[in-house]
Symmetry: C2
Subunit: 343 residues, 2 copies
């Protein structure tokens, strides 16, 4: 047994970021792995998911979940292998979905650990299209967005883990689907590979291009970005439009409110005169009991090739901080995953 | 027959206001009343309703309804008496709810004219608690707000035609009910006569007093004001709070967006982290088919004395412009109505 199997390499939150996170906010260390006690399992991390919500956990501003404490391991969903089990539910060799965080091993009591099909050909999909991001896309679009055939659905961050699934489901439901992304390469991917009707580069003249792409206005705007994208969308929203809101990545690094004018009254006026519904949701809190329905439908779509996905895989736990910093700047292309170990 | 019965006195929109409406935006004139043709009725206005939404119709900014054209009669709901009928549905003497606007007579084809119970002791209630404002309160609170026993409901403009009904229904549903009004006299009315648990003068230190009045946060905020009131409410909204939005009276006279900071991201962040639903609605558009249900329930509550209402009656059509200007400044006390004729 080599030394790396005896030590847990892990990344701690060293300090809370002010604005954009920097490398110095993280600390890498190695510690001994405690012995497995009765009722515990030893999990070896294979894949770590990196997701925008983690930026919220790095701050101590009030939010829907407790922040990561300074000096604690960064949180995160993982695909792991059971290396040793003294827990009746798990056996050595099991492939599991866990919430082990940014570390190579975890001693777990099994809570929140779910067994995956050991024959799963691409287990990392359980962190993407078949996991939290896909579930977020599915429930937000279908339960809150309620898209109807022929309606126009606009998706921010359309090449990302959530947006790419939203747009493909909208197409399956017969909607005109318009994506917004950063850069021409992502634009091509979204239209040519994912089948969106139109894609707009957010660095272009967004208002003009979005208006041209939505000649009948916008019926559903799937919001996970905020900022300039939302401001361009607002005037195009149709009467009775629905806005599911699951993220605001353009604001996560804000240190203060933007300068004026104050557009709050513009939004409330739009909500009033167009009778719009805006609804925030947190997939892990609000739709817990519908995961089975989602997983069954999405697995079918994925197996039939009707929903595609793309992964941006970074090798090595030590690269997680830089990859995460890039995620907040839109530098990833597809679902961002860290390969922590090969098997 | 005296001369006034031969002439229609009416108030036209003379010019579109910039900011707050002024007397010069209106023009009073008298014109001959055309003869009643086959299929028509002659309606004599008894009461004219004055409501904040009329400010929107004076502007030509895009909204949910067509603006009043310059040179046309100002729009408005009325209680009228049928003076002459060549329409099979109506007879001379019938009491009706109509949309005759700011004038003493209307020749109508009967569309949108509803007969009222001729024995109704207070027909003007059909413009208030038993009419559009009461209906707005009922559907917004119950269908969008979905208040549950023990929850905290905050009501802006709580002594007004809509807010006063919202708060009383919330009390009937077992909620802690907090009103916000302008001035101590309205405060007393809201707590002592309408039975709200607490009332706050919006000219006080709103944030501090609202926080003290809502120790368990806010579950439903019934929004018809906007501005500083909404900004004070935002930080107190609970997880899964609901915000029915039917008006924004504090903004109706705005000529431009307020100065910064831009609080739009503060609102969207609140919607996200607290998973809030904000939904705009226009009672006449969105709940047409539920008027019967409302009317039946509200009539019962009113007859049993469980829902009270107060009217602010102004005598004489010529006083409508000044009364309406005062309404936008919160100078009315209760449902504002113009008595145009006594019988």
């Amino acid at each position: 047994m080599n030394q790396s199997a005896l030590l847990n390499r892990r990344i701690l939150l060293k300090s809370r970021p002010i604005g954009a996170p920097v490398a110095e906010n993280f600390q890498i260390e190695e510690v001994a792995i405690p012995a497995v006690q009765e009722g515990q399992v030893k999990l070896k991390t294979l894949f770590l998911s990196l997701d925008p919500y983690m930026r919220g956990r790095m701050s101590d501003a009030p939010s829907y979940a407790e922040p990561v404490q300074v000096g604690s391991v960064m949180c995160g969903g993982t695909i792991s292998r059971v290396e040793e089990s003294k827990h009746p539910k798990f056996q050595s060799g099991d492939l599991v979905l866990s919430y082990s965080g940014w570390q190579s091993f975890e001693i777990s009591d099994g809570k929140g650990v779910t067994k995956l099909d050991p024959k799963m050909s691409h287990p990392s999909l359980a962190l993407g299209v078949l996991g939290m991001p896909g579930f977020t896309a599915y429930m937000g679009l279908l339960d809150i967005g309620q898209p109807k055939e022929g309606e126009t659905v606009v998706v921010a961050a359309a090449s990302g883990a959530v947006g790419s699934v939203v747009g493909q489901i909208a197409k399956l439901k017969g909607c005109r689907t318009v994506g917004i992304v950063g850069g021409p390469e992502k634009c091509r991917y979204v239209t040519e590979e994912l089948g969106f009707d139109v894609c707009i580069d957010r660095r272009a003249d967004l208002r003009t291009e979005l208006a041209a792409a939505c000649p009948k206005g916008i019926d559903v705007y799937f919001e996970n970005v905020g900022g300039a994208v939302f401001e361009a969308v607002m005037p195009l929203l149709n009467v009775r439009a629905r806005v599911p809101l699951c993220g605001l990545i353009s604001h996560y690094n804000d240190t203060k409110l933007p300068e004026g004018p104050n557009r709050l009254p513009q939004l409330t006026r739009t909500i009033l005169t167009k009778r719009i519904k805006i609804q925030g949701y947190i997939i892990s809190e609000d739709y817990r009991n519908r995961f089975g329905e989602f997983f069954s439908q999405m697995s079918t779509w994925v197996n039939e090739g009707r929903i595609k996905s793309r992964e941006d895989v970074v090798n090595g736990l030590d690269n997680a901080p830089q990859a995460f910093i890039g995620l907040l700047e839109g530098r990833n292309f597809g679902k961002l995953i860290v390969r922590v170990a090969s098997n």
